[in-house]
Symmetry: C2
Subunit: 327 residues, 2 copies
């Protein structure tokens, strides 16, 4: 692919360097072909794509253990109309393996003794010298068994990312702190691997969205011919994200909107709600369905979107993309 | 009401003392009639009710600005079957007014100068001496305009509750820290009121659930005669919470479940999803509908629950209670 016009394409991701989003971005946008640039916040990634200073962006959307990333949902809700042109054009699933990273104790006995425990992972070194743990708040919940077994009562400090946790531990001259972070971050900051795969759940995984401007056709990942018939198999190849709000006073308004998807046999795969700024206890709903919005305007998703406009208070197509879980 | 058998009833709430949940609990369970006891975590409140050591519990469910409290949702999801008997039996809406609490500077000029700002709230005293802010992570998001206007670049420290923030500031002998917390907490810890109603949104409000064991009939808040016809008005007097999971491989399974509520003209007022432990990317869904499960088994909610059993992989009635927003 080297030598294509993607050579100079700039892609933004939620940083810092070695973040899980960085790893997801690298898996789709190799540095040999793309210039990938870290952003401080998810909002910064949206801003960079909206303004056109980058062509695509990579943001976390949901984790299999922790659920939706509400910051990302709120940016798609776009209540202040800052990101009117942003759509999803792809997804990346990244297995998340957390490591315990830090400094090896001078009295190290290499392998730690075996303990009766709920945690399948074991420390690879002595951990008695560790008095303080750094990580991102989502990581604690994903490593609960390991932490309960080996670090009960040990101080935990929330920092802005797991990469930041590694950086802070690398600066700790006492050697008594450790980070829950990625192996890539540990390598960058020269930390010792004190434990690996310490997450509770096999299959712990995060889904990232690739976003673009809707007028950027070169990044459209659903370019198949509209001549293809809308079989179930064809539907399963794509996913679509849609947001809508309903009139609060109208009984059955939410059910009425959801019924439209059923009418067109669109399989809803996820549903989320977030507060809408408009008034207290009003919500904006997000549904994800199989299928895609077709260019010829004739598909089931197109028809559902059209009918939704008549029933919902407001609605927005937030992109269609290839289903990454489909072989 | 003094002298009723509620005199010795013990009610648990999410502490610490002066938390917003404490204030919600006091509004429904006055100390003249109930013994109300703080718990460290939301899980502790569920445990206390499940074990029968208290008869009822009060937990936060959602905030109008920040959305659902995922810890509470996950306890209702009850994937480890620890709380099989917990149901919701009531709700409390509490307006949330955040204050800036701290120490008055020795060089204080009483009223701070007026600044051009996006924040309607203004500091009541000099704030130049403040170098550090403590609060609960949900509060930052609710006071964004005030913080951006007056505390740009000032260090923020996340603590476990807004009450804890006040306690820490009261122990700060330098006087240079302040808390975003409740007036009640400020009073308890003897802090000066440096700003009030600093939340962004008018109508910022949190909804709390009162939980009980399903076999505790004395706490049943839907005891009206089943002879009452199920008019729309009757429906609007109650709310019901239901959770369900769907077979992942089956197209339309989620829409099929939601269609049942539409069939029985049940107005869904909220919908949430959380990861289900069962397998990666499986969800448990929560819907809230108007209406109640009737004792005679004949109501629309009863019928919907019955049909849901046939369509969903699993489903659970999580309680019916009086709608606190209905006059």
């Amino acid at each position: 692919m080297a030598g294509t016009n993607s050579e100079n394409e700039v892609v933004a991701f939620l940083g810092p360097i070695t973040s899980y989003t960085h790893q997801a971005a690298l898996s789709r946008f190799p540095e040999s072909q793309y210039k990938i640039v870290p952003q401080t916040t998810i909002a910064d990634v949206f801003d960079a794509v909206q303004s056109g200073s980058v062509t695509q962006g990579v943001v976390p959307f949901e984790n299999s253990s922790n659920g939706s990333v509400i910051f990302t949902l709120d940016l798609f809700a776009d209540l202040q109309d800052r990101n009117p042109d942003i759509v999803v054009c792809g997804e990346i699933y990244l297995p998340i393996h957390h490591c315990l990273l830090g400094h090896v104790s001078k009295q190290d006995n290499a392998q730690s003794e075996t303990t009766q425990s709920a945690s399948k992972a074991k420390p690879l070194h002595d951990i008695k010298h560790i008095t303080k743990l750094y990580s991102h708040h989502q990581a604690w919940g994903q490593c609960n068994n390991f932490l309960t077994t080996y670090f009960k009562g040990i101080e935990r400090i929330d920092v802005s990312s797991t990469s930041k946790a590694s950086e802070l531990v690398s600066q700790d001259t006492t050697g008594t702190s450790a980070a829950i972070s990625s192996r890539m971050a540990g390598d960058l900051y020269g930390l010792a691997l004190l434990g690996e795969n310490i997450e509770d759940m096999e299959g712990n995984s995060t889904r990232f969205f690739i976003i673009r401007r809707r007028d950027n056709k070169s990044t459209d990942n659903t370019p198949v011919s509209d001549a293809v018939a809308e079989t179930d198999e064809e539907h399963a190849r794509y996913k679509t994200l849609i947001s809508f709000t309903v009139s609060h006073g109208e009984p059955g308004a939410l059910a009425g909107c959801l019924a439209i998807f059923q009418k067109f046999r669109l399989n809803l795969t996820s549903i989320n709600s977030r507060p809408s700024d408009e008034a207290t206890w009003h919500y904006i709903f997000f549904v994800e369905t199989m299928g895609r919005k077709r260019l010829d305007g004739q598909g089931a998703v197109n028809q559902a979107l059209h009918q939704l406009e008549g029933v919902a208070q407001s609605s927005r197509w937030l992109g269609s993309w290839e289903n990454a879980l489909k072989a």
